[in-house]
């Protein structure tokens, strides 16, 4: 239902050129479209009723993000709702959770400043430090390529209150206003449309009320929300792939060379068939991830890594094959294919690439056997 509404909205009210302009703007998305989408309930669908939404389960995420992919939407659904909002929902105090109402209405935008340049996307490799001072904390460190941080009103920042990079214990999460003194946000455009930023913590002083959940126990919260992020990205990629596949089928049925549509050539038919097979594999991986994301335990984590691995591998294949089958026209800015392909490839670079998730899948399996 919501997917239909969202699909219709995108088709009628948010054409591709407007989305490209929004992605390339100084904000990195279109604030007025963001509010309209929130009014349609798109953000609310990503939160449970307890948190003020009307969905929030795995399949809600999958459906919404598949539509976001189909529409090449650049608004901060992942960053503000799934990651930052998700962290508040799962671990925030009552006072912190009060923000969720504004998050769901689109009035307040958040981002998760967690990953660092050398962490290899391993959630345990937090190097940023939070040192206790008085009732509060002083944060220092550098967070890398934080999507939509520049336009965010608040950040959820991970920092180490104990232990060292690689330890699961000792990671804490803090809620920080984006205009806080000691917070420097260097933002820039990204190649797939949108913006990201380097977030520098320069002796950023926060009060005791900034801590989210229990000090030192942030890793579990991160794992929870990042897992939902993996599902969201995988579903988004699936939506992109479906559009790209349809575009490519239409192209090879239309493009004439040697007196026939090029889709008549068996060499190309087989490659198109291969693409379809792989996309169906990806769809299954997303369904499996959506069914697993609300479960506890290692089976959840493995299904999510399996999906991100699958999406990474197949996404690159689909992007490259579709450009190749389009030939020169697929290389142009004017044709929409390239914009979908760029986003699809860059999803591979978010929240860990296929190699990382393949390794993680193996490691989790080995650990489970050794228990």
């Amino acid at each position: 239902m919501l997917a239909d509404t969202l699909g219709r909205y995108i088709l009628q009210d948010y054409p591709l050129d407007a989305r490209l302009t929004a992605g390339a703007s100084d904000i990195g998305y279109a604030p007025e479209k963001w509010i309209e989408l929130a009014e349609l309930g798109v953000i609310g669908a990503l939160f449970s009723e307890d948190d003020g939404g009307f969905g929030g389960a795995g399949f809600d995420l999958a459906v919404v993000f598949e539509a976001i992919g189909r529409g090449l939407i650049c608004e901060p659904f992942l960053e503000s709702a799934v990651l930052a909002g998700g962290a508040l929902a799962v671990a925030g105090s009552a006072a912190q959770k009060a923000r969720l109402e504004d998050v769901i209405s689109g009035q307040s935008v958040g981002a998760l400043a967690h990953f660092e340049a050398d962490d290899g996307c391993d959630v345990r490799f937090v190097s940023a430090r939070a040192v206790a001072k008085g009732d509060g904390w002083v944060l220092s460190g550098l967070k890398a390529v934080v999507r939509h941080a520049g336009a965010a009103d608040f950040l959820i920042v991970s920092s180490r209150t104990d232990g060292q990079a690689g330890d699961e214990d000792g990671i804490s999460l803090f809620l920080v206003a984006s205009d806080a003194a000691g917070l420097e946000i260097v933002d820039y455009q990204t190649i797939d449309g949108g913006r990201a930023a380097e977030v520098v913590l320069r002796d950023l002083t926060v009060g005791a009320d900034a801590l989210i959940g229990v000090a030192g126990q942030g890793a579990a919260v991160l794992q929870h929300v990042l897992g939902r992020g993996l599902l969201a990205l995988s579903a988004e990629a699936l939506g992109l792939m479906d559009v790209i596949k349809d575009m490519t089928i239409e192209f090879i049925q239309t493009r004439q060379q040697f007196g026939v549509p090029i889709g008549k050539f068996q060499a190309l038919q087989h490659r198109m068939a291969e693409m379809l097979l792989e996309i169906e594999q990806a769809r299954s991986a997303v369904i499996n991830a959506a069914a697993s994301v609300d479960m506890p335990g290692v089976a959840r984590e493995r299904a999510l890594s399996a999906a991100k691995f699958t999406i990474g591998q197949i996404g690159t294949l689909v992007a490259e094959e579709s450009i190749q089958l389009h030939g020169g026209i697929g290389m142009t800015w004017e044709h929409s294919l390239g914009h979908f392909a760029k986003r699809l490839v860059m999803i591979g670079h978010e929240l860990g690439d296929e190699d990382y998730h393949l390794s993680r899948y193996i490691r989790l399996g080995q650990e489970a056997q050794n228990v």
């Binding site: 962490d119 797939d192 060499a267 030939g327 490839v345 978010e350």
Partner: protein, 398 residues
């Protein structure tokens, strides 16, 4: 077959390396290495530097100004230029048109055009593809009708690389609709400043302007600009394409890219260890390295077999496919190697002298852009699918 260079060849390699270290400016080399935009002047300057030493047209016969190198020497030179991050020689005049003129042009054409290629008087571009004639190049429709001492050209060309800088274009035009499509094509040299020519930019998916559309409306071209015979242009066109394909294989580019990739993999840290020590990445890198080494030797085999100055035949299709697949895989691995830092896109960082803040490691800035841009290399010069058709027909006899 002896794969080691002879003493003379090693001495030549040292000579080239030494010359490059003295004549290739660090600023220009830095631009190439870091994927920064090169200006028209950069290219013209580098052509002039090479030409001052007689090395620009290194595959031309001696009587036209070539240095008389063997195929192996040319190969060594290409490799050294890539490893030193010399700018690419823009191939349209010196490497594509010139062999056609030397083999099929008349004396007047050789005397007039070849020196102008050497001294940079002309910047040539290529008028082959049309919107309806890509892989099926012979179906081209841009028409040239004879009118007294002129041809009158009407039609459109596309994917014209660096056409925005060119003052001359060599074009395949249709001079006859009789017989098979291949039989009515002629090869014309056209001055881009002739009235009736319009060049429009095409922007590529990563935002760069390299290629163009060129429109011809009643463009009058003197008949002496016809190369060879009327309606025989397809033969010349195919001869030119074997040069283009060999050029695209880019073994030297891949060798340079492999070196960069290894440096990046060592520098990149992943959860407490270097990326080079990640077994999955190490395996990917090793596979690419082995493929490249194999292709390098295939290239040497083809190069040795081709007569000095001659063009390789269907083997150029093999080199084009393997060479482009390897280049693309190395681009792919570089992209993966920089992780999240593939995403930042700062167009100004592509210009020399950029002073903005560093976003991630400096080598990361051009990587995603290069990855997307180089999707073109398996498409142009005859798509890799077309190369497979050529192999099926010419080598396998199917």
């Amino acid at each position: 077959m002896d794969l080691n260079y002879s003493a003379d060849e090693l001495a030549f390699q040292a000579e080239v390396r030494n010359w490059l270290s003295e004549n290739l400016s660090p600023e220009l080399s830095y631009k190439v290495k870091h994927g920064q935009r090169q200006t028209k002047e950069d290219t013209e300057g580098w052509h002039a530097t090479l030409n001052s030493n007689g090395w620009l047209a290194n595959h031309w016969p001696v009587e036209h100004g070539g240095p008389g190198w063997t195929a192996i020497q040319r190969h060594i030179f290409e490799e050294e230029c890539c490893l030193a991050y010399a700018p690419r020689v823009v191939p349209f005049g010196v490497s594509m048109l010139a062999p056609v003129l030397i083999k099929y042009g008349n004396e007047a054409q050789k005397t007039h055009w070849l020196p102008r290629i050497l001294d940079g008087s002309d910047w040539w571009c290529q008028g082959y593809s049309e919107p309806g004639a890509g892989s099926d190049l012979a179906s081209l429709r841009c028409k040239a009708a004879r009118d007294g001492d002129h041809y009158v050209v009407n039609g459109q060309k596309t994917w014209t690389t660096l056409g925005q800088y060119a003052n001359m274009i060599f074009c395949l035009v249709r001079t006859s609709g009789e017989g098979k499509p291949q039989q009515g094509i002629s090869f014309l040299l056209i001055d881009m400043n002739t009235p009736g020519i319009e060049v429009r930019p095409i922007h590529l998916l990563e935002g760069t302007h390299e290629v163009n559309e060129v429109f011809f409306t009643d463009v009058r071209v003197p008949v002496e600009n016809l190369v060879g015979e009327e309606n025989k242009g397809w033969t010349y066109a195919k001869y030119l394409l074997t040069y283009e394909r060999t050029n695209i294989a880019g073994i030297g580019f891949s060798m340079a890219a492999l070196g960069e990739l290894k440096t990046i993999a060592k520098d990149q840290k992943r959860a407490g260890r270097s990326l080079a020590d990640d077994p999955l990445f190490a395996a990917r890198l090793a596979r690419a390295e082995i493929e490249l080494e194999n292709a390098r030797i295939t290239n040497l085999r083809v190069v040795s077999a081709a007569a000095a100055g001659g063009a390789p035949g269907a083997e150029s299709s093999m080199l084009k496919i393997k060479g482009t697949e390897i280049r693309q895989e190395l681009d792919n691995l570089k992209r993966k190697a920089v992780g999240a830092y593939a995403a930042p896109f700062v167009p100004e960082a592509m210009d020399a002298g950029f002073n903005g803040p560093d976003i991630g490691p400096d080598y990361a800035a051009p990587i995603a852009r290069q990855y997307f841009n180089n999707r073109k290399i398996s498409i142009f010069g005859g798509s890799n699918e077309i190369q497979k058709n050529i192999i099926s027909k010419m080598i396998l006899g199917l």
